[in-house]
Amino acid sequence: MKAGRLVATIGSVLCALIIVTGCGSSTPKTAEKPKYPTKPINIIVPYAPGGSSDMVARALAKVSVKYLGQPMVIINKPGAAAQIGLNELGDSKPDGYTIGIANSGMVLQPLVGQTKYNYATDLDGVAMVGHIPFVLAVRTDAPFKTIEEFINYAKANPGKIKYGHTGVGNTAHTAPEQLALLAGVKMEPIPYDGGAPLITSLLGGHIQAIMNNPVDLQAQVKANKIRVLAVAGETRIDDPLYKDVPTFKEKGYNVIAILWQGFGAPKGIPQETLKVLRDGFEKMATDPETVQAMKALGLVPKFMNGQEFGAYWVTEQNSLKKTLDETGILKMIKEQKK
């Protein structure tokens, strides 16, 4: 009996400890701030662990002690096309201890849904760290080997090409629609709930095409299972694996879809704190180790300072709005919301 009690006591103490430490990391206490940062900085990643955003955040977190003097704690808040995490970022206290991933996905939601914030204008930029253009990928044994053949096939077989995307209105959806519009073809969208099922489905031949970031496709391209037909960037991708792939622009279709990764913060962080944060992130983003890690993730390292980054969000949102209008996606969504 005594032993039982002892075990129970130890058990409850352990539980209490877990609770205390668990909660402590997510509800930062008000700290008197002689010198920011005095405690770990939380990074909200609005995606599940393991995704490209998550990996970028972790790569930077690795060197944060070196440049900011404090570790960064990754908090994954996936769900609702990143809205859960982004809202939490917007809601969080502007004390510099909670920042979050800000990537190309966030400019979309405010355009198509009723979001709590317009993330592009209601958050502050901290730093952009890298970007990568989307690519059009098909199976190697598909009847089309080039972008021209792809479009001809789509023209000859309207609706035959079904492409997968990872959420209504996101880049994997808007980019193919943009292409369809410019090339005058019809393709059917199919929603998936993540990159992995999407690629699996393409590999299995259940869908004919995807627009995806090239990182997730590396292994398949190397194994000659998936062929990349065109790049939705201003220029080709440097990587030897993709350097022979033309851009859509070269072929006369102005399809631009670039995934960018960076960090944002709630508005209202005191200037001096924000400066420390932005400077710290500049050093972290340009650290050779981070650059190496981002390359391993297939991202082209590209630093942009917080101010420029914030302005970039607005331009990106405007051009996305234009695409959504032209492709009719916005209209479709608005009508269904009625």
Partner: protein, 496 residues
Amino acid sequence: MLFQGFAASLELQNLFAAFVGVTLGTIAGVLPGIGISGTIALLLPISFGMDTLTALIMFSGIYYGAMYGGSTTSILVNVPGEGASVVTCLEGHQMAKKGRAGAALAVAAIGSFVAGTLGVVGITFFAPPLANAALAFGPPEYFSISLLGLVVLTNLSGKSPLRAFIMMLVGLMIGTVGIDPMTAINRFTFGSTQLAKGLDFIIIVMGLFGMGEVIATICERQTDIKVEKVKFRDLYPTITEIKRSIMPIFRGGFIGFFMGLIPGPSATISTFVSYALEKKISKHPEEWGHGAIEGVAGPESANNAASSSQMIPLLSLGIPFTSSAALLLSGFMIHGIQPGPMLVSSQPVLFWGLIASMYVGNVMCLILNLPLVGVFASLLRVPLNLLMPVVAVITFTGAYVLNYSLFDLGVLFVFGLLGYLFQKSGFEPAPLAIGAFLGPQLEQGLMQAMIICEGSLWNMMTRPLAGAMLWLTTLLVVGVLVKTLIKYMNSRRGLS
């Protein structure tokens, strides 16, 4: 090549890494909510300084180690820590109530070991062809298998078919909460962004089972509860119990291994399938629902085999079928290793070293878990008035750390109340859990399949795999209807 791998994995640092991995994995598995993902995520930054193989061995250790601990809270206190151990609650907790918690835990550990090792054998010899076979599963197939699952599994508890059906429908409805994947319309969200992401399955089951149990204990008269003294010898399974578990372990292992190759949360589905199968063919049907050991042995083996075979698409296609496999992939990538069709030829030592370490790690898991059985089982000697508050704390903590969301705690509590009400009113929570689990898969699968099949159900029914499952489903439903009709006619005839 495998021998070379063994040589690499038996190096001291790698053995140590495997040990650290499986220990952390077991702990992560035991504590509900703190899943594989969180643990690997925490260790990712620490692993940077390590040798690549060492780091990967550690991550994989966490991955399969967690599958061992998962059943612990299900059996002891009816709190499932993850989807794959929900079904273990059904028989496992009943066994614990009868004082056979130790037996249940031990059988779960042994089953996990056997099935886990079987899974690794499968990876060793059949990885590439199996991975390619997995690709044949497209959206029409996911839809069909979910539908078949729904039809077969709804009446899992086998008490009242009508009640089970109602609960399943409620579960399906709960599964529709959130943003529509096709049109991005908010459904049943009442303007809440928290609800927009949908209700987390694991929170629902933690509430229905774990919190339900806690609330039930509170509401029962405390004087009724007697703590049974358990002798140390009784903590371990008897010969009969072991004998009865052997076949379910192997059957569960095979079911889990093959279902693990199907993208999506197949580990969970495989546990349900194993449970249903064991129940169907059991020689002791009267024991089901009151602690049948087969109902622990089968599902627990299935989920371990599934988690092993989920390594196959990860290693040979580079595609993670589950979120924990996704994190494992991150672990690989961050060390510059790109799993995929080229991994075996480009990194043979690494690949085989990892596989070999999984054999070693599974043995470690067993050695680690068997003594723990005694420790955990003796926890039940703690009087309920002390144990239940701790259970409540564990459940709340587990639910919280899952998404760090306070909203989830509210959901947990509501489902706890529901779970209690269901218990009192004779409605089984299991069909609801199955509905809530399969609902979203079913819905998305149907949407995707309809586009792929040009909007025609016939096109879907003529695809080989999907068709076979759909026809089987149709037959089952028609069969049940005809049976009911005949019964009805007979009773009419008897009346007149």
